[in-house]
């Protein structure tokens, strides 16, 4: 093969490489998107999960739940006995009440805390104890308590017991009285 012919063959090969690399530049576009999809980075459509910077992950407090009734024919139980929470974290727990009598009953729950100092650090946003509860005969109801544990909780408190007691508001159903404390 003459030098000129060899040169032409080499020219063709090198031009093919150059053209191929021009295509490669454009191939980087879908390649980049695929990498981002697979690794889940840089996805502009997916909303970022909000990170709550107020949560103190370095501290865990156990909350125990207790339920009592006073003079009502209700079954009243916490759905979970206890949860471990970080201060600042939003927590939702549930209680269940059932009216075992054959008349409608109105009740009001009163919370208490052990230790007592914890009362001001359990910041309730939603609670069945905010209002009176009226249950028809045989009715069963699940009710949430939503709260955030304040970060100012004294460091020696590692366990908080949250206890509710239901009191009957009046024996005759209806005619609710004002009342009910958080």
């Amino acid at each position: 093969m003459s030098v000129a012919a060899a040169n032409r063959r080499m020219l063709v090969k090198l031009v093919v490489i150059a053209v191929g690399m021009f295509g490669f530049g454009f191939a980087l576009v879908p390649f980049y998107k695929a990498i981002c999809d697979v690794t889940g980075i840089n996805n502009l459509v997916k909303r970022d999960a909000p990170v709550n910077t107020q949560v103190d992950y370095g501290r865990t407090v156990v909350l125990e739940f207790d339920a009592n009734t006073h003079g009502l024919a209700w079954r009243f139980t916490p759905v979970q006995r206890s949860v471990s929470v970080h201060p600042g974290e939003m927590v939702v727990v549930e209680y269940e009440i059932a009216n075992r009598s054959n008349v409608p009953v109105v009740g009001q729950a009163i919370p208490s805390y052990g230790p007592q100092v914890a009362a001001q650090y359990v910041r309730k946003l939603e609670c069945f104890c905010f209002s009176q509860q009226r249950l028809e005969p045989g009715e069963v109801r699940r009710m949430p308590v939503q709260f955030v544990l304040d970060g100012g909780l004294p460091p020696e408190v590692n366990t908080i017991t949250l206890s509710y007691t239901f009191f009957e508001v009046n024996a005759a159903a209806g005619a609710p009285r004002a009342g009910g404390a958080g």
Partner: protein, 528 residues
């Protein structure tokens, strides 16, 4: 040794080749084209240098002095583009044109007409880059990296710039094809690939890098162009694109580009140092492999230019380690040069001074590069003057000093006349001192937090900026001396010997007179 002389050379079709300007327009002679490349490159060096002086004069004192911020941004942009694509790269292509056929015993480049075309594409591209300063809206102040999305909003000068980059890219690719084909196919009989001078090896590797990455840059600027005018949204987040993608594509080109500039400089240094040490290069084979591994690694480290865009820490770690790895083959090269000097019979003519200046300052630039490769440090130093100092140590003290050294080294061969050694040494020392005055203090500015590409700065940076600006003017004026030296050498230098440097042993010194005949090695040389 047998000098292959064809002194009555002008025969056949060459007997009536055009004279005057048409000789240069129509020439297919590698020596003519090499000369044109070098003069073009020097012209662009002056243009880019004037832009640098505008920048440094503006930065002489805090507050706004001589240009408005848009013009300042345009100056930083076109200074970078013109120096990289107009000055440094064509300079080494000029060396390649002049030297490769003579060093491998070939009569000319493989594709002489394409060679002519690849040179004559450069002046239009340069005119586009210069004209971009004068169109409505002024030059595009987007930085030489041309990051999206700013480029999508830039004035029409951006389009001129994009076309200029396209043309320059085509020129480089054609030049590279020519170089690879010449070296692979047209070596003198008996000259195996591991016997070619190291300068030729560095150009083989550089040419492959160019063929691989210039098309990628062309793609990136094409996407920018279609984003600007044809409704695509490659880099426009509003249309589903991603500006960070531009940075990835650009630096996939951009990092090999760093070595496209540096590797031919390594080649020139690898010719000069053995000649003035009067010893063969310490480790030829290891030098070839080190250069090749630098080239391969250069494809794997691009994102170290963009640590701060918000990439996963795993990616940052990978790019950091891969970048640090490049220090290994680079270290092989530096130790090779030092070991060549070791116990050599040294003399310190101007080319050797520039080579030693290169060795000293390029190594410093390499070390600041290592500093910047470390993610936590880079996050601090990103886009500060530390980066500016770093890359000027590798671009100016690396590539430019190497080009100066190469010109002094081969000027006796090319012109047949010897330059003025005293003035050459003056040129070296002025360049060396003023280079360091200009750029060494920029390390401190960067460490203190001065951002790059901003026309104004806080008062606490004032003193170092004064020093840097004085150094820049000194460095710029010293280059007038260089022009004088070259012109006076061509006009009235003392005749040079065939083998002006007795330590130089490649074919252009051993087989060809000074100056070489217009057509050399029409019959291949006989190798011992």
């Amino acid at each position: 040794m047998s000098a292959v002389l064809d002194t009555h050379g002008q025969h056949d079709e060459h007997a009536h080749h055009p004279s005057g300007i048409m000789r240069w327009v129509t020439t297919t002679n590698h020596k003519d084209i090499g000369t044109m490349y070098l003069w073009f490159s020097f012209t662009m060096f002056i243009v880019g240098g004037i832009m640098a002086l505008v920048i440094r004069t503006e930065l002489f004192a805090p507050g706004m002095q001589i240009v408005d911020p848009d013009r300042f941004n345009a100056m930083t942009t076109y200074h970078g583009l013109i120096m990289v694509f107009g000055a440094i790269m064509p300079a080494f292509v000029g060396f390649a044109n002049w030297l490769i056929p003579m060093q491998i015993g070939a009569p000319d480049m493989a594709f002489p007409r394409m060679n002519n075309l690849s040179f004559w594409l450069l002046p239009p591209a340069a005119l586009l880059l210069i004209a971009a300063q004068f169109v409505p809206g002024g030059g595009a102040g987007v930085g030489w990296t041309m990051y999206a999305p700013l480029t999508v909003q830039a004035p029409m000068s951006m389009d001129l710039t994009i076309f200029a980059v396209h043309i320059l890219g085509m020129s480089s690719i054609m030049g590279s094809i020519n170089i690879i084909t010449t070296i692979f196919n047209m070596r003198a009989p008996g000259m195996g690939m591991m016997r070619i001078p190291l300068f030729c090896w560095t150009w083989v590797i550089t040419a492959f890098l160019l063929i691989a990455v210039m098309p990628v840059l062309a793609g990136a600027v094409t996407m920018t162009l279609t984003d600007r005018h044809f409704g695509t949204a490659f880099f426009n987040a509003a249309g589903g694109g991603d500006p960070v993608l531009y940075q990835h594509i650009f630096w996939f080109f951009g990092h090999p580009e760093v070595y496209i500039i540096a590797i031919p400089a390594f080649g020139v240094i690898s010719q000069i140092i053995p000649a003035f040490s009067r010893k063969p290069l310490f480790g030829y084979t290891s030098m070839v492999y080190a250069t090749a591994s630098i080239a391969v690694l250069s494809f794997l480290v691009w994102a170290h230019h963009m640590y701060t865009v918000g990439m996963p820490v795993e990616a940052q770690l990978y790019f950091m380690y891969a970048t640090v790895l490049i220090a290994v083959p680079t270290g092989v090269k530096v130790f090779n040069w030092v070991a060549t000097i070791w116990r050599g019979s040294l003399t310190f003519e101007t080319p050797m001074l520039f080579a030693l200046g290169f060795l000293f300052l390029f190594t410093m630039g390499g070390f600041t590069g290592l500093v910047l490769s470390i993610v936590p440090i880079d996050v601090q130093l990103h886009d500060t003057y530390y980066v500016v100092a770093h890359f000027h140590y590798v671009m100016v003290a690396g590539a430019l000093f190497s080009a100066f050294g190469g010109i002094y080294f081969w000027l006796p061969k090319w012109t047949g006349r010897m330059y003025n050694e005293t003035l050459g040494k003056w040129h070296f020392w002025l360049s060396f001192i003023f280079f360091n005055v200009t750029f060494f203090v920029q390390h401190f500015l960067g460490l203190a937090g001065m951002p790059r590409r901003i026309p104004d700065y806080s008062l606490q940076f004032a003193e170092f900026n004064v020093i840097s600006s004085i150094g820049a003017w000194g460095f710029g004026l010293a280059q007038i001396l260089f022009l004088y030296i070259v012109v006076s050498t061509i006009r009235s230098g003392k005749p040079a010997e065939q083998r002006q440097w007795e330590g130089a042993d490649s074919l252009e010194w051993t087989h060809l007179p000074s100056p070489p005949p217009y057509h050399s090695f029409e019959t291949p040389p006989v190798l011992r």
